[in-house]
């Protein structure tokens, strides 16, 4: 078992007791909730005559079903309106802070936690959402839970968990031109497999990770679950502290910052920490990645041939054959030149200000291809306002992108933003599962946000390095 890692330290500090099952009762420092996975949990609480134990450590937003175009109430979609009303009632009754769209703080749950500064190193963070792993970018122990576990956390402030192993993933070297955090995680998943992380927590380290800003680290931790790991984290450092110092939590309260910083420092993995496994990824060798299939592990470099199913390990062959049929790709081809109908720039993986800025540099002065409908969905209302203030909205809309309000949108097709028929989508999101973007015949190609911008302009999957970018005023 691992020793003296961040995971071990945070686990020990939050351990309440050992349960008769051998699981640990783990205290939860921040419980994030949203409208899709929480209503049933509140229902179970009522059935058992239980109250929310720690409303002050619970924080709500609405993201999955919220429309990104017309947000006037009642929502046009009755089901969405019902879910929203239910959440409003639940948080009001329990006294839980709720960032609804009228507050100006609403957004995707994994965007708002970090931007408000409530996501912090050494916290345990849970949410009924598998991409809760995102918050690990700050050195938090953060993982997704199911609805019955939400009931547990609401009622007791704790979750029952088994301790996992820790795998250190060291990304060496320097990321090349056009290569981003998204490409790093797609390569990790390709190399270790979509189930390679089951039973593990991933610690991301190495020069290439340490040199990333917080947004990049979030993109990597976000997709830990796509590699089977329920949680992933980066040890906190100066980059983390600089981000935190500017958030609501600490900007006006530097004393609190100084008071907590020793704790943040103390939970970093020790130099001589022991890990259960250690993997090295060569960051220098990466090129922009794209997926050719229907699992996030089915990725290749933009100019690399799509593999023949027969050349893959036996247990991956059937999935690959079905995926290639669905995506209509042939082994030996590259994804460069794959025609697309839709470009989606958004999701909890890549919808933060830094993502939009990078993409805008490429978009400025260009036009979206005439056969493509392209949309930008900022991750939160704050991201949206900041982007609008620095002129990014104009850059995108002048090029022909649709500029939307904040939400999960076309990442999972729970609102009106969906693929139609067999449309192909260049997407900065995290899952290319069949049906994920709202149409069971839809085809999703995952890539980094600048690659999405390039695909929108060219009408096909394109090597972003072939397009020049301009500097924004």
């Amino acid at each position: 078992m691992s020793e003296r890692t961040l995971y071990d330290k945070v686990w020990e500090k939050h351990k309440v007791t050992e349960l008769p099952t051998g699981q640990t009762q783990l205290f939860v420092g921040l419980h994030l909730i949203h409208e899709v996975t929480s209503p049933q949990a509140f229902g179970m609480l009522r059935e058992r005559d239980l109250e929310v134990a720690y409303p002050e450590l619970t924080h709500a937003t609405v993201d999955h079903i919220v429309p990104t175009a017309d947000q006037s109430r009642p929502y046009r979609d009755d089901a969405a309106e019902t879910m929203m009303s239910e959440l409003e009632e639940n948080v009001r009754e329990a006294g839980i802070e709720f960032d609804d769209p009228t507050t100006g703080n609403q957004g995707i749950v994994h965007v708002i936690g970090p931007e408000q500064g409530i996501t912090q190193p050494g916290k345990t963070i849970v949410c009924g959402d598998s991409h809760t792993s995102t918050h690990g970018a700050f050195g938090a122990l953060a993982f997704g839970i199911g609805t019955s576990q939400i009931r547990d956390v609401l009622a007791t402030g704790c979750v029952a968990m088994e301790k996992q192993d820790v795998r250190k993933i060291e990304v060496t070297g320097e990321l090349g031109d056009g290569v981003e955090a998204k490409d790093v995680i797609l390569q990790i998943i390709r190399k270790l497999g979509t189930e390679g992380g089951v039973g593990y927590v991933y610690e991301y380290a190495g020069e290439a990770v340490e040199n990333l800003g917080m947004e990049g680290r979030m993109s990597i931790c976000n997709m830990s679950i796509e590699g089977g790991a329920r949680a992933g984290y980066v040890n906190p450092d100066e980059t983390t502290y600089e981000w935190l110092a500017e958030t609501d939590e600490f900007a006006d309260d530097p004393e609190k910052f100084e008071r907590l910083k020793p704790y943040w420092e103390s939970i970093r993995s020790d130099e001589d920490a022991e890990y259960d496994d250690h993997v090295t990824i060569d960051g220098d060798a990466l090129e922009p990645m794209v997926t050719w299939g229907t699992t996030p592990g089915q990725g290749v470099g933009i100019n690399e041939p799509i593999p023949a199913p027969d050349d893959l390990p036996e247990d991956k062959q059937d999935t690959a054959r079905r995926a290639q049929k669905h995506m209509r790709v042939e082994p030996g081809q590259t994804m460069n030149g794959y025609e697309i109908d839709v470009a989606f720039l958004g999701s909890c993986t890549n919808s933060r200000l830094a993502d939009l800025r990078r993409a805008a540099k490429l978009v400025k002065g260009r036009e979206v291809h005439e056969d493509v409908r392209a949309m930008v969905v900022p991750g939160s209302q704050r991201v949206q306002r900041a982007a609008e203030a620095e002129g990014l909205k104009e850059v995108f809309t002048e090029a022909g992108f649709d500029w939307r309000n904040a939400g999960c949108s076309m990442c999972l097709g729970m609102n009106e933003d969906q693929l139609v028929g067999d449309e192909a989508c260049a997407s900065s999101s995290n899952r290319n599962f069949i049906g994920r973007q709202g149409s069971k015949d839809g085809r999703t190609v995952l890539m980094n946000p600048r690659m999405v911008a390039a695909a929108a302009i060219e009408g096909e999957v394109t090597d972003v390095r072939e397009l020049k970018e301009v500097s924004l005023a």
């Binding site: 009762q25 996975t37 050494g122 598998s130 199911g146 089951v198 679950i225």
Partner: protein
């Protein structure tokens, strides 16, 4: 006044019934329950939507799928391949399978959030190697009316005249066999210790 959350939790030592094979690796929870069926505030009625897009075409006509076949309609033990239940954390997925009639799942491997969600519903997720699972799937296909017994406590599955060894995660086995898989009341009984941990953490400000 808040209750203690005490509810009757049955012990799940063994589960028996007929089987249904669902073949394929990396079957994600978006396939098990597409997102559009999650626009609900209860889990009631989700059973009919399990694997909906695999079972029905655009006009709601039945497609070829084991869950559409009469011979599997009464099945309660699902036999699956590797990384079953990957992707989204939605408990709607095991809820839909349970409400369709599934009481236990035997497979090569399970995604961890999915397995945790199954445990919270008292559904065992037991594993065996690829070859063993394929043999079981083929056998279920041939003998859809024959009984399978999943012995959680002994970590064995009995079918035909065979007994195979399976693995059950330790905590899962103890939770199911001892009937402590619903952890709400259990953890609530440690409320004082919980508060002590909360107060020991430098970042926690309690009201």
């Amino acid at each position: 006044m808040s209750g203690t959350g005490e509810v009757e939790i049955p012990e799940v030592q063994e589960v028996s019934g007929t089987g249904i094979p669902i073949r394929g690796n990396d079957i994600d929870t978006d396939q098990i329950i597409p997102a559009r069926f999650m626009k609900v505030v209860t889990f009631d009625g989700l059973g009919q939507f399990a694997f909906f897009d695999q079972r029905f075409d655009d006009d709601d006509n039945e497609k070829e799928h084991s869950m559409n076949e009469d011979r599997f309609k009464e099945a309660s033990i699902m036999v699956v391949n590797s990384n079953f239940g990957c992707g989204s954390s939605r408990e709607h997925a095991p809820q839909a399978l349970m409400r369709w009639g599934i009481d236990a799942i035997v497979g090569e491997s399970f995604a961890s959030i999915f397995a945790g969600n199954c445990l919270a519903l008292g559904i065992p997720t037991v594993t065996a190697d690829t070859e063993t699972i394929r043999e079981l799937q083929d056998w279920v296909d041939e003998y859809p009316d024959a009984e399978i017994e999943v012995d959680v406590e002994a970590e064995r599955v009995h079918y035909d005249d065979r007994t195979i060894d399976v693995q059950v995660d330790d905590a899962q086995r103890r939770a199911l066999v001892d009937g402590v898989w619903d952890t709400t009341a259990l953890m609530k009984s440690n409320a004082e210790a919980t508060r002590a941990v909360a107060e020991s953490l430098p970042y926690v400000d309690l009201d």
